[in-house]
């Protein structure tokens, strides 16, 4: 039986992670995501499911704990907010390079630098183009509700283990802090030792005579082998692009114009659609749910029907580059951003649509 609760986005994510059978959480406090670890600690996860919750000495230590746990075939996760996620990039690169599954939550705040504690979407490039050093990608899920914060904890683990890759849930301070009704899944069992042996035979669990020793590493001093390893990674990302694109289209059937927006911006665009349609402007919303893989084909297809696209982002214009690549100049694409912790109002989005797309 599913359970209905009123929760903050950060709490819903934490509760859903427990229910998804997480084995370990390793984190460091930073606003606006500290409720994740606070909730897990208050839940006494070790008594509840056997899950470890550990406050690390830094974001760097936390992501490297995730590396260690993931290398053991366990379901492990961390969470942070923008400056902390920047600190984790080296570790994330190692995790991607070593092909380990894990879940990372970024509750984005405005930047650059220490920036602000208010919501933003200015970590899009960092999240979708790699982030750390080397050629790698993360699967990036962008929740637009407390419900999706909960849903993407489970989905994130599932995709992470399916592809042996880190999965990033790219949220923001608004989704993390706001309270909504959320339907929670039933408790899944944590992995048994038998599950780990069967599903992750590469995991370091202690070498037995029936197999070679397992090594978790991202290093190969032989460049030809390293190139081959990179081929394997790129093939995996291609497969992810073919199979894991997720998106939502709202009011697009008769739309002459479209917003492209994710997360909090997408929520505000829904209100903007109501306002615009009341004025007789037929506008719809294309909401990417996966930011990598980006729904390129769907956006390209939309250009057959719409006259112009407005990218609404709480950034100076990051996702618009992916939209432009998908549109390939077929229709007008413009960016409308608020940033530094400012959230758009629905009416200014409608104004921007009129000025930049319809009138422009």
């Amino acid at each position: 039986m599913k359970e209905l609760r009123l929760m903050k986005g950060n709490e819903a994510f934490a509760e859903a992670a427990i229910r998804a059978g997480a084995d370990g959480y390793f984190g460091y406090p930073i606003t606006p995501q500290s409720e994740v670890m606070e909730y897990l600690m208050a839940q006494k996860t070790h008594e509840r499911t056997g899950m470890i919750t550990l406050q690390a000495e830094s974001e760097i230590a936390a992501i490297n704990m995730v590396y260690g746990g993931a290398g053991c075939g366990k379901r492990v996760l961390t969470s942070s907010s923008s400056p902390g996620i920047s600190l984790k990039q080296e570790g994330i690169s190692y995790i991607a390079g070593s092909e380990l599954p894990c879940l990372i939550l970024n509750v984005v705040r405005g930047g650059p630098g220490l920036g602000t504690i208010q919501p933003s979407q200015s970590d899009y490039f960092q999240s979708t183009k790699g982030g750390g050093h080397g050629d790698y990608k993360l699967i990036v899920l962008a929740p637009a509700s407390v419900q999706e914060m909960a849903d993407f904890a489970g989905l994130g683990f599932e995709l992470a283990f399916k592809y042996r890759t880190p999965v990033l849930v790219l949220s923001d301070g608004a989704i993390g802090q706001m309270m909504e009704k959320v339907e929670l899944d039933v408790q899944k069992p944590r992995f048994t030792m038998e599950d780990i042996k069967k599903n992750t035979p590469w995991a370091t669990i202690g070498k037995t005579p029936d197999r070679d020793h397992n090594i978790i590493t991202s290093l190969d001093l032989d460049s030809l082998k390293m190139e081959q390893h990179n081929h394997v990674l790129q093939e995996k990302y291609k497969k992810i692009e073919e199979n894991e694109v997720r998106y939502e289209k709202i009011a697009c059937e008769d739309a002459e114009y479209a917003f492209v927006a994710y997360g909090t911006s997408a929520r505000i665009c829904q209100k903007a659609i109501e306002l615009a349609r009341a004025e007789g402007i037929k506008v719809g919303l294309m909401r990417p749910i996966t930011l990598f893989p980006f729904p390129k084909k769907v956006i390209k297809e939309m250009t057959k029907k719409v006259k112009g696209i407005l990218c609404v982002e709480m950034s100076a214009g990051q996702m618009i580059e992916d939209v432009q690549l998908a549109v390939e100049g077929r229709v007008k694409v413009e960016h409308f951003g608020r940033y530094g912790g400012i959230v758009h109002s629905p009416s200014e989005i409608v104004d921007a649509l009129k000025k930049q797309i319809i009138g422009g």
Partner: protein
Amino acid sequence: MAEFKTNPEILQPENLVYKRTELLTEKALSYCPGCGHGTAHRIIMEVIEEMDIQSETIGVAPVGCSVLAYEFMDIDIQQAAHGRAPAVATAIKRLFPEKFVFTYQGDGDLAAIGTAETIHACNRGENMTIFFINNGIYGMTGGQMAPTTLPGMKSSTSPYGRDVATMGNPLKITELVAQLPGTIYVTRQAVHTPSAVRKAKKAVRKAFENQKLNKGLSFVEIVSNCNSGWKMTPLQSNEWMVDNMFPFYPMGDIKVNDDK
């Protein structure tokens, strides 16, 4: 070259006085001839073999000369980012509390870039073992100054000798972690002579046995030579180590607190 001939009659089990532990792989060590890493690897693997805990042991290799330790140690092992081995090992031990978990780290890894991870893993009293190989230099990157480089000691980034006024003092991190309530056994050893090897092996054994007590972290420093980095012959480097490193990094147990 004369062909090496073995008299098959002497190849009898009762004549066997030494053999390589099965827990070292067939791969040729990547260390310079004369370096102490090979001996340190060997005694750790011998202890794991003698305790019969291969299937219950997970190691963590560092960045540095021993980055490829995972190629030589025939156990399940993870290679950590520079300095992060204690964090990686923390998670492994917390998730598998019944396993034996250890890190193997050099001085740059453990006492410079990884200082925070070292101190905090020790302070939390993680029930694992840290092996710390201190040769006072960054060996793999070509002999730069390390946190443990002695005052006046030359390296490629202290070519006129370590000037403590501008470069800081060498860090006695082993004495430092001994102050923390989370450590139960802190010792400093060496592997340059047969008797030192025997003592160091005893310390390694004790450090692993301690994990059964579940009372905190065991920290074994091995002061070692770097004949290449110090630009000496292996013999000279061992003599230099005894004359210069040992007075600054004295041998022996620093903390023993493992009452059952």
